[in-house]
């Protein structure tokens, strides 16, 4: 599948708008965005299709010690597309989730211990201080924009995403591409992360789709009766 690498359709931003944005970025407050402190690179695949894999750039904030929330982009570049969100919770929090909810979440142990999940630009020793915690967490990821199939715009309904759980899943070309782009070696980092451990109680059997595929479907819902409005009258 050809990934969407071209620009978003549409005209360039006119100067008047750019100027307004420079002003707003200086004048307004961005408190929730200022909490975003970390860039984390990993891979996601579709919860019903492991063969469709995407390099996912997470920009993460802590809500507290146990809960994080991340904006997921398709690249670390200024023109990156916001393709999804991921929430990350510690093991004790995950265990309080209803059983119906648990399958929507994926474990992080393999991604972290294999070296594949990493913090671009951060030294190994410093990364590992945080990643040893991440190894014990669970994540819930939705994507809204199927850039891997070449969609120029975010079409369709959301997709539940999953994360790598064992060797042999990650496409070799994607792996090498990321290693080269960011100057990292997953194998080397794996060696240094051997000391880390996953969740205290082991990866929960209901996590990762309970080992099965999942997908989302749209359904029409009747709303309480209202008088239909002809579109002529806005």
């Amino acid at each position: 599948m050809a990934a969407a690498t071209g620009p978003i359709p549409g005209d360039p931003t006119p100067f008047s708008i750019s100027l307004a944005e420079t002003a707003s970025s200086a004048i307004q407050s961005f408190a929730p965005i200022s909490r975003i402190h970390q860039h984390l690179c990993a891979f996601h695949f579709y919860a019903d299709d492991m063969s469709r894999q995407i390099e996912a750039h997470h920009f993460c904030a802590h809500l507290n010690e146990d809960v994080r929330q991340c904006l997921v982009f398709d690249s670390p570049d200024p023109g990156a597309r916001l393709i999804g969100v991921e929430y990350i919770v510690s093991e004790p929090i995950y265990l309080t989730l209803p059983d119906e909810e648990k399958p929507l979440w994926h474990s992080h142990e393999f991604e972290v211990k294999s070296g594949i999940l990493f913090l671009p630009g951060v030294s190994g020793a410093v990364q590992r201080q945080d990643l040893e915690k991440v190894a014990k967490t669970y994540g819930k990821t939705f994507h809204f924009w199927q850039v891997d199939r070449g969609d120029e715009l975010p079409l369709g309904i959301p997709n539940l995403m999953m994360a790598l759980t064992r060797d042999g899943q990650l496409h070799e070309n994607l792996s090498q591409d990321v290693e080269k782009k960011f100057g990292v070696s997953f194998a080397e980092e794996r060696g240094r992360r051997a000391y880390m451990s996953g969740p205290e109680h082991g990866v929960h059997p209901l996590a990762n789709g309970a080992g099965k595929g999942l997908k989302l479907e749209l359904r029409e819902v009747a709303l309480p009766p209202t008088v239909p409005v002809p579109s002529v009258f806005v």
Partner: protein, 248 residues
């Protein structure tokens, strides 16, 4: 299982009481220090493109009576496309509740009809003074607003905080925009509460925007509920996973 329109079982994760913080311990000093260090050395370019903040309202597409105030943090990719990180407040403790994409009328026209049904129009929201840009003088806001009144949005909500979810549960919910008719109207007490907090007046904004050009025509496929009396919900269903290796 986990449908966007089904109330979750009461549990620590969803208490039914709006406004509770997520469960978990306060950030430790160690975490804060590690985070500060990362922030210094890492490049955060996509985040630096977030240059606008707007406060507005949205309605759940499957239940228009459920209405929320939102804080949108907006990044413009070109003259026809915006991507917004949506939070439940403008404070540093705000929860990330979803993502909204905004496209110009020109881009919207090019979408297939089935896709257009998932989108909503913005003209009413802007003209009614519901969409507000905190702290930004009217004059600076103006070019952006005229642009915005002609756009369409698609908003997925991933954390239903208004029903007391302390954690993001279930499938994403499709959201709709305020409209000037019937169930599309935002409850006045919600607007007042927002206005008082920000020290603004939606009435004033509405009058200031009277002169603003309105789109001549809103596409009938947008705001699907208006024509059809139906909304959309999202279900999580089992599926055969296509694999390339053993799973999990």
């Amino acid at each position: 299982m986990a449908s966007s329109d089904k109330k979750p079982v009461l549990a620590p994760a969803s208490t039914g009481i709006q406004g509770q913080e997520p469960p978990g311990k306060p950030e430790t000093i160690a975490t804060t220090v590690i985070d500060a260090g990362a922030k210094l050395v890492q490049s955060m370019k996509p985040i630096q493109k977030i240059k606008q903040h707007a406060c507005t309202f949205a309605l759940y597409g499957h239940d228009l009576h459920r209405q929320i105030e939102t804080s949108h943090y907006i990044s413009r990719l070109n003259n026809d496309f915006l991507q917004c990180a949506v939070y439940d407040s403008d404070e540093s403790s705000a929860r990330l509740i979803g993502v909204e994409y905004v496209v110009s009328a020109e881009l919207f026209e090019r979408l297939p009809a089935e896709e257009q049904k998932l989108w909503h129009s913005h003209a009413y929201e802007v003209k009614a003074g519901l969409w507000a840009s905190p702290r930004l003088p009217d004059l600076i806001e103006k070019p952006e607003l005229e642009n915005l009144a002609r756009t369409y949005g698609k908003f997925w909500c991933t954390w239903q905080v208004d029903r007391g979810d302390r954690l993001p549960l279930g499938a994403p919910a499709l959201m709709m925009s305020p409209q000037g008719v019937n169930a599309g109207k935002v409850r006045p007490e919600m607007v007042k509460r927002r206005d008082d907090r920000l020290g603004i007046s939606s009435e004033y904004l509405k009058e200031a925007r009277l002169e603003m050009a309105e789109p001549e025509w809103i596409h009938p496929n947008a705001d699907y509920w208006k024509q059809h009396g139906e909304g959309f919900a999202v279900d999580v269903v089992s599926a055969e996973m296509k694999t390339v290796a053993a799973f999990p």
